[in-house]
């Protein structure tokens, strides 16, 4: 009947939407249930952390940067510590490095179990969601007993770590790992055999190896497409050279492969933690750090649960950094959502989005785009105010 030009029917997802627990805005143009276009807008959780680091000393920044992400707080602190230690020419003692690895792998377990729950919830499989979050409590309790906090563990210090292992804690970790290992076997069974879940994951959001390379995917998202990319194996940091990691990959590149890769990484994490507990090197926990660091610059890379985390740190001879730049894995992975969403069903979009394990608060950072010949890096208060007025008038 209606022969006029079909109107664009846009379904907005975010910044407030039940599928996203953090603010990000996606616009999906749909034709019926088919997605024909996708765009993303980020920056809702921009907090100016990079700028704020420039007014604080090296120790204070450790805790500020730890708060970039609520899920992978330890890797942020580790990346920062490793970078600053490199600048100061200090090496943390082996026992400290091993404990860093231990906490990082415990954190990976908690992050992947959290993701499993979120992804199951997006698929409408709430029982799996509840089970995986219940089991995640085990690892959260271990982290709480080990470090004294459930989210921002603050296990790192510049030049070492704060907390040592006690025999009781070792027993608690062993017991927790045993329980989690049994449960993870069941999760692998469920995600590879449950018919209704497979209908939502198998062959959905397929990323080929070429696409993964081209889009620059990182972490488990890339490894599910067969890209063997893992900083822990490529450029071992902390104690990863003493406790080598076996990189888990899959070739299918669909959502099922992402489930499987993340779950198999859990087994790898259990193995690593057991190895560390068995062969924990003796010694001190902290090396002495100077308060001021001579002018230099460095980069530091670690493997966060979501992929490669990158820090650039520049010192200027004072007790404060000159510049710190952070690149989080979500930013690398997010572009794939817009590519994969086009042509898929609207119902699969939240699944595809959850499939990269996005973390928006990690991700939102200031980006300056140079266009034309005016200098956009410096705005006067008047210009900024005018920009605000013009922006909201539209």
């Amino acid at each position: 009947m209606d022969t006029t030009v079909p109107q664009r029917f846009v379904v907005p997802i975010g910044p407030q939407h039940p599928a996203l627990k953090e603010p990000g805005h996606f616009e999906f143009t749909v034709d019926g249930e088919q997605v024909t276009g996708a765009s993303v807008r980020l920056g809702y959780a921009h907090r100016g952390i990079e700028k704020a680091t420039e007014g604080r000393n090296w120790v204070q920044n450790l805790y500020l940067l730890e708060r970039i992400c609520g899920i992978c707080s330890h890797v942020h602190a580790t990346a920062y510590c490793l970078g600053v230690e490199k600048l100061a020419g200090v090496t943390a003692p082996p026992r400290a490095q091993a404990i860093r690895l231990l906490v990082a792998e415990l954190e990976r377990i908690h992050s992947h179990l959290l993701w499993l729950g979120v992804a199951a919830h997006e698929a409408g499989f709430d029982t799996l969601f509840m089970y995986s979050w219940r089991d995640r409590e085990t690892v959260m309790d271990i982290l709480e007993a080990l470090t004294g906090n459930r989210v921002n563990y603050s296990a790192n210090l510049l030049g070492g770590v704060k907390f040592d292992l006690t025999p009781e804690l070792t027993d608690q970790i062993y017991a927790g790992l045993e329980l989690l290992e049994e449960r993870t076997h069941q999760y692998v069974d469920v995600v590879t055999s449950d018919a209704t879940l497979l209908q939502r994951t198998r062959g959905v959001g397929v990323t080929t190896r070429e696409q993964a390379e081209e889009l620059g995917l990182v972490g488990p998202t890339a490894r599910a497409s067969g890209v063997e990319r893992d900083i822990r194996a490529e450029a071992p940091y902390a104690a990863y050279s003493d406790f080598p990691v076996k990189v888990v990959t899959a070739t299918a590149g669909d959502l099922e492969a992402r489930f499987v890769v993340r779950l198999q990484e859990l087994f790898e994490a259990y193995r690593l933690i057991r190895a560390v507990l068995e062969k924990l090197p003796p010694g001190d926990l902290q090396a002495r750090m100077p308060r001021k660091i001579k002018p230099a610059e460095t980069i530091s890379r670690v493997e966060a649960p979501r992929g490669e985390l990158f820090y650039f740190i520049k010192s200027n001879g004072t007790d404060q950094p000159e510049r710190i730049k952070v690149r989080t894995p979500t930013l690398c992975n997010l572009a794939s959502v817009c590519v994969l969403a086009i042509g898929s069903q609207l119902a699969d979009v939240p699944m595809i989005l959850a499939g990269v394990d996005p973390c928006f608060s990690c991700n939102d950072r200031m980006v300056t785009v140079y266009s034309g010949d005016t200098d956009h890096t410096q705005w006067t208060w008047k210009q900024l105010r005018q920009y605000g007025i013009d922006y909201y008038r539209r």
């Binding site: 029982t127 509840m130 209908q199």
Partner: protein, 307 residues
């Protein structure tokens, strides 16, 4: 005198308020069982009542670009449909309050009224989530309705009547689910689709389209829709229990059989992921309809041979 008695039966027992209370209690049992399966504590017994009471006292926001009359009338119509349907089924083990030839068909259509109203309510607003939800609700209606109807007609054919109390009288004591297993399964799963619970909750998939067709509803309207849903749960369970599980004579038997069915529903609901709407339609038309049609044909031929 008779008029007052009629009014009392309609308003309080076993129609009206009793059905509403029963519906909310069943909703609580559903939620509690679900929680226990998921290892949670779950809500207290008064939670559904508290939810409805809260919604009823809250402000109702009517979107500016929707038809005001329709927006207000649809929830009332939906609840009225469900409550009317309750009058024709043997609630709580009592005989149906009203009965006439062909009331089976009327009841089934009254039950669909809720879904149609939900779909219309979604289409009445310009909200994107509501529109997508409305499309999905109506698509789903067309997919499960025919098989569900055929599944309900199975016992009717066996009883050679379109009247609910005659069918029940005929099926009394015989567990029809043994001779018509396909019909039973389709009816039960059809009920899942009708109530939009997992795996057929694509029309209100919160991670995709917020609350689906009812996204714009708040306060009173939402309370009425939810009450309608609760009543429909009871009516649907009663019908399946009465038709396929050897009747529901008396309160204890009614409670036992409907709770058994509810337990099965909770089991299905908790162990599956949500189906996409295209998968739902495919499932119903590729399997549901064909299977139930085959059984129906066999039934008709069998009845013909016997006659």
């Amino acid at each position: 005198m008779n008029a007052i008695q009629d009014l009392l039966t309609l308003m309080f027992f076993p129609g009206g308020l009793f059905v509403l209370a029963l519906g909310m209690s069943y909703e609580w049992i559903d939620r509690k069982l679900m929680a226990r399966v998921q290892n949670r504590v779950g809500p207290r017994w008064f939670q559904p009542y508290a939810d409805i009471a809260k919604l009823l006292v809250k402000e109702e926001v009517i979107p500016a670009d929707s038809n005001r009359l329709l927006f207000i009338a649809l929830p009332i119509l939906a609840l009225a449909g469900a409550l009317t349907a309750a009058l024709y089924v043997p609630l709580a083990g009592f005989d149906p309050l009203y009965s006439f030839k062909g009331d089976l068909i009327v009841t089934l259509y009254l039950l669909s009224l809720l879904t149609v109203c939900t779909g219309l309510a979604g289409a009445n607003t310009t909200d994107r989530f509501s529109l997508v939800g409305a499309t999905r609700t109506l698509t789903q209606l067309f997919s499960y309705e025919a098989p569900f109807l055929l599944a309900m007609l199975g016992p009717a054919v066996a009883a050679r009547s379109w009247q609910i109390n005659e069918i029940i009288a005929d099926a009394d004591g015989q567990w029809l689910l043994i001779v018509q297993p396909v019909g039973f399964v389709v009816a039960l799963i059809g009920l899942l689709g009708k109530l939009e619970i997992a795996p057929f909750n694509a029309p209100e998939a919160e991670t995709e389209i917020v609350a689906g067709a009812l996204t714009e509803y708040s306060g009173r309207g939402l309370a009425l829709f939810r009450l309608g849903r609760h009543v429909e749960l009871v009516v649907g369970l009663t019908m399946v229990a009465a038709f396929y599980m050897g009747g529901v004579n008396g309160l204890p038997l009614f409670i036992l059989k409907t709770l058994l069915l509810l337990l099965i529903l909770v089991g299905i609901q908790s162990l599956v992921a949500r189906l996409r709407i295209d998968q739902t339609v495919g499932l119903w038309w590729r399997w549901g309809v064909l299977l139930v049609l085959a059984q129906w044909l066999a039934l008709v031929i069998w009845e013909g041979v016997q006659a």
